[in-house]
Amino acid sequence: MLSRVAENLYWMSRYLERAENVARLLDIGLYLELDAPSLSVEDGSAPVEIALEILGCREPFQAARSTRERSAVLDFLTFDRSNPQSILSMIARARENARGAQESLGVDAWIEVNRLYLYLCGPRAQKRYRSSPSSFYTRIKQSCILFDGLLHNTLPRDEVYHFVQLGRYLERVDVMGRILHAKCLALTQGTADADLALQIVRWTGLLRSCSAYAAFLRVERDRVEPVGVIRFLVLNPDFPRAIRFCVARCRESLQEIAGGDDDEYASEAERLLGRLDGELRYIDVGEIFERGLVPFLDGVKATSYKVGEEIKHSFFLT
């Protein structure tokens, strides 16, 4: 397929995945702050504000807004077109990319992303956002999921599909790494017994912001504590938001695109992903904590960045 179209599909997919994650983060963040007002601390790690950290836009936010109020953070991350990480900006870019790849996506999928964009630009979105932020963010998540479902059920399993998958899962590896990185500092600090209830709220919040709470309860069958949560979100092979799962999907799609297999890799991106995949398969959660969660996540992030660069050079700049 055309390199330009592949690039369009890949970025469309990444932006939609990121936008969906931001919507979920903000939705859960709000929910947590309402649930436990004491979480709204002043050090910037409050559930809503921490989204700035995760998206790497704390400085642009401070430059753009004179306040740290929650409503300003929400607006900055949702509707602000001058912020490239806002949901609206990302959906706009996803749509531009989708427009350039309409022939590959199919009409229905294109309509869905176009509709989401037009909705976000219009008065109905503002109205819904003001009356119930949660239902507003849910609308965005649902639209992203519908889009995903359309592609799953209409695209042949060819290059088009695999570039979409590659974009989605690579973005998810990146976002998951960022979320864990930003939240784990606050989460792994030793806590007095009095704070234990609050810690559980936080850990639960982390799981919820990854849509992982129910699945976690079924799989880990344990009370919510750091080791189990990290094991689940990083190393679980079956949960679609676990880093290990996402890395494996990236690798599969890349193999389909470039023609490599388990014995031999066909591109540098595949080699990097294969190595990370192997590590995630055989590492023990205890080893992660020994090594330090933050250095471990930094490693994952560095690999996902390198993989992105390799994909660009191998497929888009031909």
Partner: protein, 492 residues
């Protein structure tokens, strides 16, 4: 419904006040049954459908990114079988002659030697391409796709207003309008036997396959677009999708050893036929405008070498120049030895002194057009003009008589159109699309454009025009054949 309807010009629906023409009778009745509220509701559904599908165009000369849908009017325009028969024959005749003219101009130039068309007009046309002289194109076909704009005068006579032989757009709206109408007004279709238009893209694909370089059995075809910010991008994407071929931009293509390739995720792959939606001037920065970012460097070289097929061929702009337009009926007589089936609009040419003085004396009643502009740009409608505009055009005409033509202001036919909750007459035209491959085919129908502001005669979408679905009717109203019911579903 028709309470405030006023008759003026040639009315497509009404023969006289309250009396519909025979082929409109069923539609007339159905509209009255539906009533304004229901019509309004369905009109909104149609609008929403178009917007969500991104069937938009970009308006030039404003901030980039102003996307608008072309207003869609839900009242279909009907063309009877007899009317269509004449139009179809007339269009085939005209396109055949235009194509022979282009071939002649770039080869033996009989028509110039016989002084049927003045040579200086041809060589001075902005669409004339020296690069094409002596160049052979497959089957001598140049105008693979054309859109011929027709209007109806006060007597109901169909006349050709202009020929579009370069990259006419609008066909995607024809196909989309039909889809939307079927969704929104399914019952109306049952009352009429409407000729389908969906095979347009199949025919287009066959035309494109036929111009592949010799020896190429399974050609790779692409649609070349200027990109997502072009006003017709939706159409380019739509056509590529319908034909199942790739949509490419200039930057996706590259020349290598005389062949055109596209850049893919697996390296360079060959391209055999390009349906280009980019004007000649921008196709190849080496051959034409060096500042063009839209084209492919070296494309014209590959074309000359016969390594790639182009539709439309290069240099077709010489035939749709408005300065050449007055001579098309003569071309038909010259090449085909037939009388034109479809007439031209009377046209005055400032190059002729008598015409010039007539034009300058009657600017208030004439329409003046720049010969190489389109889309409703560069024209002046006398009756709607200001004194200053007339002065300006008088100066321009005197300074550059080759650059303009003038025509009497024709009151285009009117059609019931849904405006502000009721039906009123609005002026319309018709752009049928003609494909020229092994033979000439005319899509039954075309784009009916409607000037939405009251009294306006300008139908271009860039100037506030809308569109209607156009129904070419079969001779007889047909009954759908029943389909045998399949067996029952499995259940537990």
């Amino acid at each position: 419904m028709f309470g405030r309807y006023r008759l003026a010009a040639y009315d497509e629906m009404f023969a006289s006040a309250g009396v519909p023409r025979p082929h409109y009778a069923a539609l007339h009745e159905r509209l009255i049954e539906l009533g304004p509220d229901e019509l309004e509701r369905r009109d909104k559904v149609a609008d929403l459908t178009m917007r969500q599908q991104g069937i938009t165009f970009t308006v030039y000369g404003r901030d980039q990114g102003v996307e608008r849908i072309i207003p869609f009017d839900p009242i279909p325009r009907l063309v009877s079988a007899a009317e269509w028969d004449r139009i179809e024959r007339g269009l085939k005749q005209r396109v055949r002659a235009l194509n022979l003219f282009i071939h002649d101009v770039y080869h033996k130039r009989h028509i110039l030697k016989d002084r049927v068309v003045p040579a200086d007009l041809v060589f001075g046309a902005s669409g004339y391409r020296r690069e094409c002289v002596g160049l052979a194109v497959p089957r001598d076909v140049y105008v693979h796709v054309s859109g011929i704009d027709l209007i109806r005068d006060a007597g109901g006579e169909f006349l050709v207003l202009e020929d579009n032989c370069r990259t006419p757009s609008g066909v995607s709206y024809v196909l989309k309008n039909r889809q939307v109408m079927k969704q929104v007004f399914p019952l109306l279709f049952e009352q009429y036997n409407v000729r389908p238009v969906d095979d347009y893209t199949d025919t287009l694909l066959a035309v494109l396959r036929a111009i592949a370089p010799p020896g190429c059995d399974d050609p790779t075809i692409v649609v070349l677009t200027p990109g997502i910010y072009n006003s017709a991008y939706y159409e380019h994407s739509f056509l590529a999708r319908q034909m199942g071929v790739e949509l490419v931009e200039g930057r996706d293509l590259v020349l290598d050893r005389g062949q055109i390739f596209r850049r893919t995720t697996r390296g360079l792959e060959r391209v055999d036929v390009i349906y280009r939606r980019i004007d000649d001037d921008f196709l190849d920065p080496l051959a034409f405008r060096p500042d063009s970012m839209l084209g492919v460097a070296g494309l014209i070289g590959a074309y000359h070498a016969g390594n790639v097929g182009l539709a439309n061929a290069l240099g077709t702009g010489v035939a749709d120049d408005k300065g050449i337009y007055p001579f098309v009926p003569d071309m038909i007589r010259f090449y085909l030895r037939e009388d034109p089936i479809l007439g031209n609009v009377e046209t005055f040419r400032p190059l002729i002194p008598a015409h010039r003085s007539h034009i300058l004396a009657n600017l208030e009643s004439l329409v003046v057009k720049s010969v190489d502009a389109s889309g409703g740009y560069g024209m002046m409608i006398g009756p709607a003009s200001t004194h200053a505009q007339r002065e300006e055009f008088a100066r321009k005409i005197t300074a550059n008589p080759r650059g303009y033509i003038a025509q009497p202001t024709i009151s285009l036919s009117r059609h019931p159109t849904f405006v502000q909750g009721h039906l009123d007459g609005r002026h319309i035209d018709l752009r049928p699309f003609v494909l020229y491959g092994e033979e000439i085919t005319v899509m039954p129908g075309g784009l009916t454009r409607v000037a939405l502001p009251e009294g306006s005669l300008v139908v271009n979408s860039s100037q506030g025009g809308g569109t209607k679905d156009t129904w070419v009717l079969h001779e007889t109203a047909g009954r759908p054949t029943p389909i045998a019911a399949p067996g029952p579903f499995a259940r537990n």
